[in-house]
């Protein structure tokens, strides 16, 4: 294991010029070869934390070190790649797919940003790896939601950063692309990258994350998936923001079995089946007890 953690966030507090404190006293360490979910409601400070890691905002207190360097140094040495949310991108911008991926190489080029043969090769590789080679001459606005996402993943690959920040990568993406993105993240993890993935898509977090960081202005919990992504911690992270459905007793069993099923969901009401294959019964219907957040 390397000595210094790749991301070391130490007592970070960020206050905006208008006096609003977005996050306070957040600390956690992340090491290479990890996929970490950054989970919290809207306004919990996920994007502020991203901004702090990329030097957009300067912490009022505390500090962030990336692979033992301060943020500015780390960015200069191309340590961090950023995959933006789809809403943040101007899809009408006159750039082709290959132009966007080439932007990932800019940090490796000289001042005039003239690509070398190696830069071109890395772009080809990155495009091939996300399966977008045949779309390289398309203007980015002409792509589907999943393809758009893959272009920016390819840019992160071409940049060869050891830390990859992904902002809500599954929003507006079909199930097939979601699986492909998760697969790619696992490969990158095995190659020693650290991915920090902000998401409010709770259901998929256990599928691909090794660690989670739960925040809501303050750090609620951070650590390995198994011990951290618990019902109790989630209830604290989401408060009254989630539908919290518990199925037990008569809704589930015909006997006195004390076991229960808990379903937590952020917007839609879930449909939950339970029982033997042929005669499943719908259990999350009217009979289920439903509460908002309370344990």
């Amino acid at each position: 294991m390397s000595a210094a953690p790749l991301i070391a966030v130490n007592n970070v507090t960020v206050t905006y010029p208008n006096g609003h404190t977005a996050i306070s006293d957040i600390s956690f360490d992340l090491r290479a070869g990890t996929i970490c979910g950054l989970v919290g409601v809207n306004g919990s400070g996920k994007s502020t934390l991203f901004k702090a890691i990329m030097g957009f905002v300067r912490p009022a207190r505390g500090g962030i070190r990336l692979d033992g360097m301060d943020v500015r140094q780390a960015l200069k040495s191309n340590l961090v790649a950023y995959v933006p949310q789809s809403e943040e991108v101007d899809w009408n911008f006159p750039v082709l797919v290959e132009d966007v991926v080439m932007m990932g190489r800019y940090g490796h080029m000289n001042m005039l940003r003239i690509p070398s043969a190696e830069d071109r090769r890395k772009v080809d590789e990155a495009l091939a790896r996300v399966g977008m080679s045949e779309y390289r001459k398309r203007q980015i606005g002409e792509l589907s939601g999943g393809q758009k996402k893959r272009v920016f993943l390819a840019r992160a690959l071409a940049q060869e950063g050891k830390i990859i920040l992904l902002d809500e990568p599954f929003t507006g993406v079909d199930v097939k692309t979601e699986a492909a993105i998760i697969d790619l993240m696992r490969q990158l993890r095995d190659e020693g990258c650290l991915m920090l993935v902000s998401t409010h898509n709770l259901g998929s977090v256990p599928d691909f994350c090794d660690e989670v960081v739960l925040i809501n202005r303050i750090l609620l919990a951070a650590g390995p998936m198994q011990t951290t992504f618990t019902e109790g911690n989630l209830a604290r992270a989401f408060g009254g923001m989630l539908r919290h459905i518990r199925l037990e007793g008569g809704a589930l069993h015909d006997d006195a079995d004390p076991r229960r099923v808990t379903v937590i969901t952020d917007d839609e009401r879930p449909l939950v089946f339970y029982g033997q294959s042929e005669e499943q019964k719908i259990v999350a219907g009217n009979g289920a007890k439903e509460g908002r957040g309370e344990k």
Binding site: P17, N18, M54, G55, F56, R72, L75, K76, S77, N78, V80, A81, Y82, P84, E88, V89, D90, N92, F93, P94, V95, L96, D99, V100, M103, G104, Y106, G107, M111, L112, R113, Q139, R155, Q159, G161, L165
Partner: protein
């Protein structure tokens, strides 16, 4: 006939008007490629009006007009930023508020001291009567701007396209933005002389918009935009000799004609191409 067509070239002031217009047009067109992509087009208009009091004061105190204009431009930009931060007013409101204030102040100064500078020169421009010292200022501004843009065009493109990524590769985002707006104010000031405060907006918007319809790659967009603008500005100054009309008016009219041509006939984004595609699709649908 040929003699008549060559007549403008026999006058020094016409020659000078033609090449100065072309130079200013090139620099403004380069900037317009960025400006129109961000929805910041009106910033160009705002700056052009906001520099008027600076120009008026500079003439009054016989300072270089570029210095006065520049100071006023910076002051206006700072004013807008300050009001934006302190209130919840929308950006267009703040721009409208600040630039009209500055423009009014400028008109006031000029009208109180009518000898200092002709109002018409500021508002409509007067490239035909540009003085030697003004030519020097315009040349310095545009050559330095074009040089910096050629050095930094890719970095600026990344900043305009994706600020997050620009930061992640270690680009000085704030510095580059300041550079861009400094160049924009400087070129706006240079363009005041050619087309005047009212029409500067056309110089920093139209060429970029025309080129946007012609290509999907930013590098080509810049080349097209600059080429179109250099040609229209030079041609506009030349034609204005025969029409005996305001040079600014002729130049901007030509810009608009270029835009209309692209709007109609651009290979992919033009009106005719869209019609053709619709027809082809309909035909394909009919057969299938």
């Amino acid at each position: 006939m040929i003699e008549l067509l060559l007549e403008p070239f026999s006058y020094d002031y016409m020659l000078r008007a033609i090449w100065v217009s072309a130079l200013v047009g090139g620099a403004c067109a380069f900037l317009s490629s960025y400006l129109m992509l961000k929805g910041w087009s009106l910033m160009g208009d705002a700056l052009a009006h906001a520099v008027v009091p600076g120009v008026a004061l500079a003439y009054l105190l016989s300072l270089p007009y570029a210095a006065g204009a520049f100071a006023a431009g910076i002051l206006a930009a700072l004013g807008m930023t300050f009001i934006r931060q302190q209130t919840k007013l929308r950006e267009d409101t703040v721009i409208g508020l600040v630039f009209t204030t500055f423009f009014a102040l400028g008109l006031l100064i000029v009208s109180i001291n009518p000898t200092a500078v002709n109002v018409q020169t500021i508002i409509l421009g007067n490239i035909l009567a540009i003085s030697d010292s003004d030519v020097v200022q315009v040349v310095i501004i545009t050559v330095v701007s074009l040089g910096l843009l050629i050095l930094k065009w890719k970095d600026l493109m990344v900043v305009f396209f994706d600020e997050g990524h620009a930061r992640s590769i270690g680009l000085p985002v704030t510095g580059l933005k300041i550079l861009f707006f400094t160049l924009l104010s400087a070129c706006t000031v240079a363009a005041l002389q050619t087309v005047g405060a009212c029409l500067v907006i056309a110089m920093v918007v139209t060429p970029g918009a025309t080129a946007y319809l012609l290509t999907d790659r930013f590098g080509r967009l810049v080349i097209l935009s600059v080429t179109i603008s250099v040609v229209t500005c030079a041609l506009g100054a030349y034609i204005s000799y025969f029409l005996d009309g305001a040079t600014g008016g002729v130049i901007v009219t030509l810009h608009t004609l270029a835009f209309l041509a692209a709007f109609l006939a651009a290979p992919r984004h033009g009106l005719l191409a869209a019609r053709r595609r619709t027809r082809l699709n309909a035909a394909a649908g009919g057969q299938g």
